[in-house]
């Protein structure tokens, strides 16, 4: 099943990826190949098979409700490119 450029553009938008025209062209081709390849799965008979949630059928462990973290903001914010007054900055968000 082949994808067209519109679909790939939509996917790139959902994934917030900016691609050049060239990258789009290559992506359309390669993604189509991959999708064709994985289409094989439709041949498998999986009636009554429960989709695997985990390789081990374990259950979620619960942790006690305790505050275990101390403030390390300044150290973490060393990794951020744009911070003011402890806030992470992004271009203005309109709501």
């Amino acid at each position: 099943m082949s994808l067209d450029k519109d679909q790939v553009q939509h996917i790139a938008m959902l994934a917030r990826l900016k691609l050049s025209d060239e990258e789009y062209a290559v992506s359309v081709e390669k993604l189509s190949k991959i999708v064709d390849f994985v289409d094989q799965l439709s041949e498998a008979d999986t009636a009554d098979v429960i989709p695997m949630a985990h390789p081990l059928h374990a259950a979620q462990r619960l942790r006690p409700d305790e505050v275990t973290e101390t403030d390390d903001r300044d150290r973490y914010q060393e990794n951020a490119a744009a911070v003011t007054d402890g806030l992470y900055l992004v271009p203005k968000v309109l709501e």
Binding site: A59, R61, P64
Partner: protein
């Protein structure tokens, strides 16, 4: 504005999605504090920040709280529920996905009853309640071309409670929301503080011609953070939709914000239309498995719920329904009331009057909750007891109350300090009555001539002389006796 639904041939259909922040100490998936009001990003650890390599671990309290809620609304608590990722990009969502629950939520098929517009009991279905993490906050003020992101709130646990579209008016919606608000506070699972954002509501509103089975297109109203606003927002939105359709337009499925200044809703055009959230089970978390034993253990801790407590107050204390309803509006208030009753010989009704009257008045005036009351239940019981044993009159008691509220001491201490003990000594009262009669010959003559209403004048004078401390009943009796010519 007319009551849109019934009069104009239109039926209003409303469903509410309530987000209640669960009152845990730490976040749902990390050990960061959930305390309100901290400096930006000082309560956001690596897990909350979505750093590379970090992983979520589930807080056991949220499971207990969700289970308790499910039991309180007669819902099914899922023996197995699954966390799913809701994928979208937004600056207050650090991982680029929100951990929520989709197909297998922890609670399903519950119900809550409210009084409908005619005062009859109506069952509102609760489709589901599921656990999810809250996002951070964006701050726009003080910035030119930027927004500042504070992730302290990111990861705070939320219980999203979704009602069936069973509500048929703004009033019903508010009634339902109030009931849910009361329940979560009763259960101690949320503080329900709407100003701080720990109890938020979105409303899905649509209209359809009366009798039509198919639902109309709905608009989602967001940013409803008070009971008043919800009622106004829904009504204004209903009006908008009806006007639109009657003018030949169609309602668009969209998100709208309520603007309380302008009393209108407007479209959130800047938000993504038709987001494809690409939900899938979160592979970093395992299915939550809850045993029958666990559910029963939680059930055993269920506090007396508002409806049951209200009934009991009527039966056990002989209170009027209205009073019982007011007193059971919060568990804290109900507990306070019962503590007063236990500590005094006065009737429960008298205790109720004082709690609903003077105490509530003082709390309101000072903007306080019952938990912050300046007068403890024991102390209020002390005051009520002194009325009951005639140490003071009801009127003086109000004075004493004010003094107690100002922190001047217990009832007994204030009565003693201010010498407010009621005068019940007949000879003392007689002496004052004699004086008043002697001082007011004109009025005495008028009274004896038949102007019975003047008794109030004399009572007032006696009270003035005794600084209000004379026992009113005795004053009345003695005056009448002495004024008989």
């Amino acid at each position: 504005m007319s009551a849109a639904g019934l009069n104009s041939g239109w039926e209003v259909v409303i469903g509410l999605e309530i987000h209640a922040q669960l009152a845990t100490k730490s976040k749902i998936f990390s050990g960061s504090s959930t305390a309100y009001g901290a400096e930006p990003n000082t309560q956001a650890n690596l897990v909350d920040l979505g750093y590379p390599g970090v992983l979520p671990v589930l807080n056991k309290e949220v499971v207990r709280m969700a289970t308790l809620f499910g039991l309180a609304v007669n819902a099914t608590v899922a023996r197995r529920s699954v966390f799913a990722r809701k994928n979208y990009f937004y600056p207050d969502l650090p991982k680029g996905y929100q951990i929520s629950q989709l197909e297998l939520p922890i609670v399903e098929h519950g119900e809550m009853s409210i009084a409908d517009t005619n005062g009859n009991e109506k069952r509102i279905g609760i489709t589901r309640a599921h656990l999810e993490e809250d996002a951070g906050k964006s701050i726009h003020e003080g910035f030119d071309a930027s927004s500042g992101i504070d992730l302290n709130r990111a990861g705070t646990p939320l219980l999203e409670i979704v009602s069936e579209p069973d509500l048929r008016s703004a009033k019903e919606a508010v009634a339902y929301m109030k009931k849910i608000h009361t329940i979560v506070r009763y259960l101690g699972i949320s503080d329900g503080n709407m100003q701080e954002g720990s109890f938020r509501c979105d409303a899905n509103v649509s209209v359809r011609p009366m009798g039509q089975e198919e639902l109309g297109t709905r608009a989602e109203l967001k940013n409803l953070n008070s009971f008043r606003f919800i009622e106004k927002a829904i009504n204004i939105e209903v009006e908008r939709q009806i006007d639109l359709i009657e003018d030949g337009g169609t309602v668009v499925q969209e998100t709208r914000l309520y603007d309380s200044d302008k009393d209108e809703t407007r479209s959130m055009r800047s938000k993504e239309e038709a987001n494809d959230y690409r939900y899938f089970p979160d592979p970093d978390l395992l299915p939550v498995e809850i045993s029958e034993e666990y559910i029963e253990a939680v059930r055993a801790t269920m506090p007396e719920l508002p409806v049951a407590k209200q009934s009991r107050f009527v039966d056990e204390y002989g209170l009027k329904g209205g009073d019982a309803e007011i007193l059971t509006a919060s568990r804290a208030l109900a507990d306070y009331f019962e503590a007063v009753v236990v500590a005094t010989d006065a009737t429960a009704q008298i205790a109720a009057n004082w709690v609903i009257g003077e105490l509530a008045g003082a709390l309101n005036r000072d903007g306080k909750d019952i938990g912050d009351s300046n007068i403890s239940a024991a102390d209020l019981a002390g005051l009520v007891s002194r009325i009951n044993d005639s140490t003071i009159s009801g009127k003086i008691a109000k004075q004493v109350f004010e003094a107690m509220w100002e922190g001047e001491g217990s009832a007994d201490e204030i009565i003693a300090a201010k010498g407010l003990k009621q005068i019940t000594d007949s000879s003392a009262i007689e002496a004052v009555v004699d004086k008043v009669i002697a001082d007011n010959p004109g009025q005495v003559a008028e009274y004896q001539a038949g102007k019975d209403k003047l008794i109030g004048f004399f009572v007032g004078k006696v009270m003035q002389e005794t600084k209000g401390q004379a026992n009113p009943g005795q004053v009345n009796q003695i005056l009448k006796d002495k004024l008989k010519s």
